[in-house]
């Protein structure tokens, strides 16, 4: 065998590994390793600046369970997640149904609904912070027109949650609608035709044919938005104008989420061990909520 052939053989055999290697290296070093290391750090009294102060076992976790600020953040996270995900996905279904009708200028409408998704969260949060301003915000101005007193959107728990959720809904509804639309367009058309022949109403067809047919897609979006919704950070962080400095989400932590708490503990108070415990508990909570959601969504989607 000539050296050329040998070289060719080595090339065929090993080059594939070489060209997929960068992904695994980057993921291993900057994705997987930190995640696992988080578990290790969470078992220590570990200061961000001074480093490891000794193994403490589950002490960070027991402290966490007795920490009212943690429970507050957990409650806020779940409340914000529910307020943003549920309306968002239902609105996306409705919007997808609209876009699924024969439209003139299809590309235009689709691009229009996706536009909010390409704006950075930081910019969105600043705009919404203004829209929901207490004194000069346009939302309060509009409420005033119909005779409702101005709401202090940052001071109250429910009001701040509504305002923050509206950012999430605004940003993600169109994106999810496009994903639903793609699935809807691959539903076999004869299903619709026979339903129409049977005289089913449009609403009936939507709930008994369209929705069950795109079930896997619905489950997919439920999982993705659960994971995203449970990790809310930027929207609440920047909703509080002084937020980046303190990261407490309002004076009484009305809208501090778990990731904000993780950030406050780790990067404001430098308690890396405690912050890592928050991260792992959050990870567990995300898993549990994702499984619960998956089950519920499967039920809903299979009814009809």
């Amino acid at each position: 065998m000539s050296w050329r052939d040998k070289l060719g053989r080595l090339d065929t055999k090993y080059t594939p590994y070489v060209i997929i290697a960068p992904f695994f290296v980057v993921f291993g070093v900057f994705g997987l390793y930190p995640l696992l290391h988080t578990a290790w750090v969470s078992l220590h009294d570990w200061q961000l600046i001074d480093g490891d102060q000794g193994f403490v076992g589950l002490a960070n976790y027991t402290a966490l369970l007795a920490d009212p600020n943690f429970w507050n953040a957990l409650g806020n996270t779940i409340s914000l997640f529910l307020l943003s995900t549920v309306p968002q996905l239902f609105a996306a279904l409705g919007l997808a149904a609209l876009l699924d009708r024969g439209l003139r200028g299809r590309a235009f409408w689709r691009a229009g609904v996706l536009l909010p998704n390409v704006i950075s969260v930081a910019a969105v949060a600043l705009v919404f912070a203004q829209l929901f301003g207490r004194d000069f915000g346009i939302v309060n101005a509009l409420l005033g027109v119909v005779g409702i007193d101005p709401v202090d959107w940052r001071a109250q728990t429910w009001a701040s949650h509504l305002a923050i959720s509206s950012m999430v809904v605004w940003r993600w509804t169109g994106y999810n609608a496009l994903i639903y639309l793609a699935a809807m367009q691959s539903v076999p058309k004869d299903l619709y035709e026979s339903a129409m022949l049977d005289g089913a109403s449009r609403r009936r067809v939507f709930w008994s044919i369209t929705v069950p047919s795109i079930r896997p897609t619905i489950l997919f979006t439920v999982i993705v938005s659960t994971i995203g919704g449970m990790q809310l950070f930027v929207e609440p962080q920047l909703f509080d104008p002084g937020g980046t400095a303190t990261g407490t989400g309002g004076d009484d932590r009305q809208f501090q989420t778990l990731v904000m708490y993780l950030y406050e503990k780790g990067f404001r108070l430098f308690d890396a061990g405690y912050s890592s415990a928050v991260a792992w508990v959050l990870f567990m909570v995300v898993l549990v909520v994702a499984v619960v959601n998956f089950t519920v969504a499967r039920r809903i989607a299979s009814k009809g």
Binding site: T12, V118, A122
Partner: protein
Amino acid sequence: MFATRSKTGPLTYALLVVVLLASVFPLYYSFLIASKDNSALGDAVPSLVPGGNLFENLTRVFDTVDFWLAMQNSLVVAGTVAISNVVLGTLAGFAFARLRFRGGNALFLVVVGTSMVPTQLGVIPLYMLMSDLDWYGTLQAVIVPALIGAFSVFWMRQACEESVPHELIEAARMDGCSVLRTFWHVAFPAVRPQAAVMGMFTFMTAWNDFFWPLIVLDPNDSPTVQVALSTLASGYYTDYSLMLSGASLAVLPVVGIFLLLARQIVGGIMQGAVKG
């Protein structure tokens, strides 16, 4: 579209117009406030006509933070990340789609599986890693972890499956082309359109990233645009014209890219969706 599904009345269009206005309004509002002076915000019912203070407010943005530097940093970060994802993602995607090697399918499943891992939760050790490397406050701390992502590999594998014919690859190999030459002369030209869209997509994602840059860059030194925005917002007194002038500037590049490529990006999202 077929007839039974598509009784498109004026009501449908009316609803869509409302949705579209809701999509655009916050953006317009941001430009609107950016064009006014702060005292105009006190009007009982805000006027929806732009004011004349745009240039003054923009100047103030540049006086308050080094916005040029931030823009430049973001451009470097997003540009490098986009190019790297195109190159490395296309190479890996090509390997998974068109090369035969032991464990290829299993490794691809691992790639897909990694997208489920919430990397955001590993920020503490990631931060410590960056300090150990002496990368705190440097752009490579933001760039290197994003050089290649699962999405890029997945996307480019799909593109190679669709657009690179097996026969061409085999012919090139028969002629004695090395794997890399085959990639460069046969596969890459065939997937260039998909690679371009993906590059833009990763550019936008990197440009918009906030959480990690906020942690690892010094907000007062040389942050990215998004982090610079948060410093505009964190004064004692909320200066909305200033904040929203900055926000408007920061969204310009992505909105520009989006308007140019809207058709392809929308097509890409629809294609990437899990089919029902």
